[in-house]
């Protein structure tokens, strides 16, 4: 089976998924972007610049680390962590942000817009825009804008304009819609730097292309360390960018099994989760056909996850295709399982995984004991966990952090401002 050629293709359909379901005004904009992208990746200079910046700016290659303590503790397979959290800005998002910024520059665009949920993609976008001197506007649901103040602050420090979106649920979906509306109103001068493998063609193919370096590095690294290929690959799935990044290079290695982990939130029987393959159905929104959490009329549902990066009603079209063709298996992790996984990884290996990536860790914990000691699992630690400080301290009801915040606030209100 030739999955790799199906998953990155110029036409943008993956089986019946994907496509380019956009208002006519965006059709030429998407077509131009598609052409520019497929031309660029044939250009040695473009690839050379991308590789150079990965070495000197983002920090590639990232390590593949053998989690010996965790492996011993779970008593089964050998567990390896691909540590994308060590990248500049702390997550794999910089991979496609850098790639797309180079495309935008190549197309002569002066202005970049992006959507963001928790702010990680917005931060990575603001970062590359600062580096390339591009004007940057980031749309963020008003709720996320309020609860992710640290990232809003960092984006502003990088020179970006962050716009709170007050429509709808005021979360990621509304931010995507607002970004699309911005693009519709100023299509010629703007590049929309979409932050996952969702959206209309060419975004799924383009972002997969820029993320596939994760799996390519893993192939060499695991060969060096074990002399073979991994038995299992595990990644969390929000839109699907880090999962496709890890999986892509191994898609045609039939013996390599793959598991995507969705956000089970507070349980998939209720409404508070983002498990599209457990409870969703086929739909068309935000420019593409895929699985969405929606009601019987086709109205998209509100979602929940402890990790903002997985809190989205849709999933990338290639991911839906790989699910339908059974190449990738899907499971989910509940918020509470994610918190224990987060703590276990910290205590056994000294690594704070992002809450998104901790979904993958939760699956590793379930799977590893059932495997043999000579089998291997590679999971993607797609981001580092220090960004989740406020969520984690709240979940763990950390009294010290609460009084720290109270003291900081008192200090600020006194007007000293120099804490």
């Amino acid at each position: 089976m030739d999955y790799k050629t199906t998953i990155i293709n110029k036409d943008g359909h993956f089986g019946s998924f994907g496509g380019r379901y956009v208002p006519e005004v965006l059709v030429p904009i998407m077509d131009d972007l598609r052409d520019a992208f497929f031309e660029a990746v044939e250009d040695e200079n473009f690839i050379g610049e991308l590789q150079k910046l990965h070495r000197t700016y983002t920090g590639r290659p990232t390590p593949l680390y053998h989690c010996e303590n965790l492996s011993a503790k779970l008593g089964g397979a050998q567990i390896f962590m691909k540590n994308e959290g060590l990248l500049h800005t702390g997550a794999h998002k910089i991979n496609h942000c850098l790639g797309q910024a180079l495309i935008a520059k190549r197309m002569g665009k002066k202005r970049v817009i992006a959507e963001t949920g928790a702010g990680q993609h917005g931060l990575a976008t603001a970062t590359v825009c600062a580096k390339f001197g591009l004007d940057c506007t980031v749309y963020m649901g008003a709720k996320d804008y309020a609860r992710q103040r640290p990232n809003v602050f960092w984006m502003e420090q990088l020179g970006a304009t962050v716009v709170p979106v007050t429509d709808g649920d005021q979360t990621l979906r509304d931010a995507i819609n607002a970004a699309l509306r911005d693009l519709i109103s100023q299509p010629e001068e703007t590049h929309y730097l979409l932050g996952t493998v969702c959206g209309p063609n060419p975004y799924p193919s383009m972002n997969t292309y820029f993320q596939k370096i994760i799996g390519e590095e893993v192939r060499t690294q695991i060969e060096d360390q074990t002399g073979g290929t991994p038995d299992y690959l595990i990644a969390c799935v929000g839109g699907g960018s880090n999962a496709l990044g890890l999986f892509y290079d191994f898609l045609d290695d039939e013996h390599v099994k793959m598991i995507g982990v969705e956000a089970g939130g507070k349980g998939v029987d209720g409404q508070e989760h983002a498990a599209r393959f457990q409870c969703g159905s086929v739909g068309v929104a935000e420019g593409f056909k895929s699985y969405f959490l929606q009601n019987s009329d086709g109205q998209l549902s509100s979602t929940h996850s402890i990790s903002a990066g997985l809190d989205y009603a849709g999933v990338g079209p290639q991911i839906a295709y790989l699910q339908e063709s059974k190449r990738v298996k899907f499971s989910y992790a509940l918020d509470r399982e994610v918190m224990s996984a987060y703590q276990l990884l910290a205590r056994t290996e000294g690594v704070f995984a992002a809450l998104e990536s901790s979904h993958a860790v939760a699956e590793v914990i379930k799977l590893a004991p059932s495997l043999k000691k000579d089998q291997s699992i590679v999971f993607n630690c797609s981001g580092r966990g220090d960004k989740d400080l406020f969520i984690v301290t709240k979940e763990l009801e950390d009294a010290g952090f609460k009084s720290f915040l109270a003291e900081e606030l008192a200090e600020l209100e006194k007007g000293s401002g120099t804490s």
Binding site: G19, N177, Q186, E188
Partner: protein
């Protein structure tokens, strides 16, 4: 499509532009939206475009997006919208078109939706996020055709010549030209570029042309009437009755339309 075609013929032969007014089913609620439809039709609209609300209306500007959101918050369903549209269509000789996003249609079932729309007297569909090149897996053009519905094709000012030539091949009823790049509801300045664009569409098809997106004033209509037969007005009309009591809203609709239409 009979009602639609005869209305288009009437507009063509009158030498005056016809107005297609847009409204959202279930905004502010189902009962009042029916009254609003009646008022719009009585105030001189030639065609009525009724939107079935959707949770993610990307092609709509803030005014219409908010109307979608409020309608859904009030519990408006696709079935409820269709029942209102059915009553509106039964009450008038003027053509009624459904505007909605493709997800609503695909969840209903494309074939079933087209059948139902035809059964309730709807003359055509406007689906802003369904470019003709997605037809293969979806068959919306096919089932619209089979059910004698016009699937209105949209052309944008950014559309290129070869694309325009392809789009018009799939067109029926009339061609919908977006007068500007941009989302609905922001005022459009009509300049030489707009005129050139409309002329290029004119040269590619014999179908009547509608022009919309950003129309709110009589002066704009004056400038455009030599280039298009149908003027589409959406956000500007909703602004007239948003957030005010219904009786006052209906008066406002009448006043606004008299001001706009009497060219």
């Amino acid at each position: 499509m009979k009602k639609l075609n005869s209305q288009l013929d009437r507009i063509q032969s009158s030498g005056k532009p016809g107005f297609m007014m847009h409204m959202v089913a279930g905004y502010p609620d189902l009962k009042r939206s029916e009254k609003i439809a009646t008022q719009i039709l009585e105030s001189g609209a030639a065609l009525l475009e009724v939107q079935i609300p959707f949770s993610d209306p990307v092609a709509d500007g803030p005014v219409i997006a908010r109307a979608n959101e409020l309608a859904l918050k009030n519990g408006v369903t696709v079935e409820g919208s269709l029942l209102v549209i059915e009553r509106i269509a039964a009450s008038t000789e003027k053509p009624i078109l459904i505007m909605t996003y493709f997800n609503i249609i695909q969840n209903y079932g494309v074939e079933q939706f087209c059948k139902r729309a035809a059964e309730i007297g709807v003359q055509g569909l406007i689906v802003p996020d369904y470019p003709y090149d997605e037809e293969q897996d979806n068959s919306l053009i096919k089932y619209s055709h089979e059910n004698d519905l016009a699937l209105i094709q949209v052309i944008a000012s950014t559309s290129r010549a070869d694309r325009i030539n392809e789009i018009v091949k799939h067109a029926s009823g009339f061609i919908y030209c977006m007068a500007r790049t941009g989302i609905t509801g922001r005022k459009t300045d009509i300049n030489l570029q707009t005129i050139k664009y409309l002329e290029s569409v004119r040269a590619s098809s014999d179908l009547p042309m509608a022009v919309g997106f950003g129309l709110s004033e009589r002066s704009q209509v004056q400038e455009l009437k030599n280039y298009a037969q149908i003027m589409v007005v959406g956000s500007a009309l909703i602004k007239e009755y948003a957030d005010i009591p219904i009786d006052k809203g209906l008066q406002q609709i009448k006043k606004f339309m008299i001001g706009l239409i009497d060219v």
